[in-house]
């Protein structure tokens, strides 16, 4: 395996298993997420990509009957340590969901919500700065600067998704998890978000789930292929796409099954 030395990785997963009730969804997944890179999770529907992604910021805690086993660390610290505060963890690991889900509040309040609850801005001016900066980074500022007080739900689907990205980066997380962020978007909006991901890579560690091989190839440096709850293969994106070791990977990326 094309293993990265543990010190370089932002997050480690070791023997990660997930059960939904009695049904096991993930089997002993070992995956490292390198810092300041984009890691793409690919695989056929139902193979456990979202499940793994949600393990990384403990969003599975919210689901009844979901049990996570194994070890996941962030900067060497076990994130499933009972002493660790989940709220602080989620402030460090942001998430963007498949379906845009802005709060039914104004565009401004959507972005300002995270900084507010985490006490990141002392003054209104500072908060304005954070909101503006996040919207700029998300490539949405020009489109919404005139109507920050209007509802976030009144934006188009692509704009809403970029608003959700702005909302996630407003709290300056160290890692951003994205679950099929472009699945509801047209090619132009998708291109914008891919561009954005490429820029965000400078400051953030990104894990993205995608169904598009092209997208994985375009935006990611590392790719992991999941199949039936198992991590089949992972490594440099180029290597996965040009010379996969496992024939299931080969089959999936060439479109023979999935």
């Amino acid at each position: 395996m094309n293993a990265i030395s543990p010190t370089l990785a932002k997050m480690h997963g070791r023997k990660v298993t997930v059960h939904y009730g009695s049904k096991q969804a993930l089997f002993d997944v070992d995956l490292d997420v390198p810092e300041r890179m984009v890691t793409a999770l690919i695989g056929p529907s139902g193979c456990g990509k979202s499940t793994f992604l949600r393990c990384l910021n403990r969003m599975n805690d919210v689901i009844d009957g979901c049990k996570v086993g194994g070890e996941i660390t962030l900067d060497g610290q076990d994130i499933y340590d009972p002493k660790l505060d989940v709220v602080m963890l989620r402030a460090r690991i942001g998430m963007v969901f498949q379906k845009p889900n802005p709060f039914p509040k104004s565009i401004y309040d959507n972005v300002a919500y995270g900084p507010r609850i985490h006490g990141m801005a002392g003054t209104k001016g500072e908060l304005d700065e954070i909101v503006r900066g996040s919207l700029e980074k998300a490539g949405l500022w020009k489109e919404v600067k005139e109507r920050l007080d209007q509802p976030g739900t009144g934006l188009s689907g692509g704009q809403q998704q970029r608003l959700c990205i702005a909302r996630a980066i407003a709290v300056s997380p160290e890692v951003i998890l994205m679950d099929e962020p472009c699945s509801a978007l047209d090619p132009i909006a998708t291109a914008k978000i891919e561009e954005l991901i490429d820029e965000l890579r400078e400051n953030f560690t990104i894990v993205i789930v995608t169904h598009s091989m092209q997208q994985a190839a375009r935006v990611s440096q590392k790719t992991a292929f999941f199949h039936l709850g198992q991590l089949i293969e992972w490594g440099d994106t180029e290597q996965i796409f040009t010379s996969p070791k496992d024939e299931r990977t080969q089959g999936y990326i060439t479109g023979r099954f999935g």
């Binding site: 889900n101 509040k105 739900t153």
Partner: protein, 429 residues
Amino acid sequence: MDHARLKRPDLSEARIRGRYAAERRFRFYGQFAVGLAIAMLGVLLFSVCSKGYSAFYRAEIALDIMLDPAVITPDGKSDADTLASADYQGLVKEALKAQFPEVTSRGDRKNLFNLVSNGAGNSVRQAVLADPGLIGSTQRIWVVAADDMDMLAKGFIKRDLPESERVVSDTQIGWYDKLDAAGQLRTAFNAVFLSAGDSREPEQAGILGALMGSIFTMLVTVLLALPLGVMSAIYLEEFAPKNRVTEIIEVNINNLAAVPSIVFGLLGLAVLLGVFGLPRSAPLVGGMVLALMTLPTIIIATRAALKAVPPSIREAAYGIGASPLQVVSHHVLPLATPGIMTGAIIGLARALGESAPLLMIGMVAFIVDVPHWPTDPATVLPVQIYLWADSPERAFIEKTSAGIMVLLAFLISMNAIAIFVRRKFERRW
């Protein structure tokens, strides 16, 4: 592909016409149902208002009253206490005697005095207290007529009935007509109805006591049931682990919502009065009993409203590191508020109209004083309406309907508040 075998939708005229006809029929049923409901509501409102509006005015008789210092200030002192406790009713009677000098026999005099209310002296007292300088002079003062005269003035007593079948005698009608002819009779706004407590005398009975009782009771109910109900629902829905215990609690809450209200009254009697020794007939206890009754409704409605908030909003908030409490208070609760308000208003409207459980804790007593505090003895609007409906005097019939009008007005204002709150939060975008 075998095109002959391919089944296509049936696009025939007949099917389309059939569908349109079905839709028209359905619309008609709906409109008919709504129309019927509105008509019934209209009939109800009309019958209540047409019977009740007359309670808001009353007959008054003007008498030339000699404000005799010997009666008002017998020992020469004119302090407020003396002035307030003088026998003004006696002065009213003297004035009646002076107006009808021909009435001399004891029986006739009694009938004559019955033209005015037992409380007629109050108007005189007010006049004297307002201006003690009037003492010693003769003043024309409007005093309250007796309820029978009031009924006569409003036309509820039929003059053409044989004398033995009506409550007023021919002689009394004669006096009444004389006063009327002399311009000494009028109908005026009945302030007493809105400013006094109950009374055995219809013309002195007011709704304020019961209204205040209802307000205090509802206040206690809202203050207890709304926070408790919403908190329990939030805990059960958002925080409690889903296990056998919470399942049993849930089933029992649903069962509680169906318990007949009188059972809650028995509970209040046994526990609140019996064990904790809280005062009888008090809105405090009534409010607690009604809060118990309303609690399940509010819990069920709140849980439904919380469930209806899309999970994506919760995920979004959790995803940027909101704590469970922040998720609930910043996002879920505001979105659920309209639903919670609807549930609360259904529960409270039921509580407002409830009388059975309140009978059990003594809120059915005859109480003259207007309550000023939730522990003062009181009754509530529905019980008051029942008490009046049960009274034999003709004049209580209009009071009954007027009481219902006040109850409806209370209900409507309570709803208006809830609708206002709901509107405020309903901007879901």
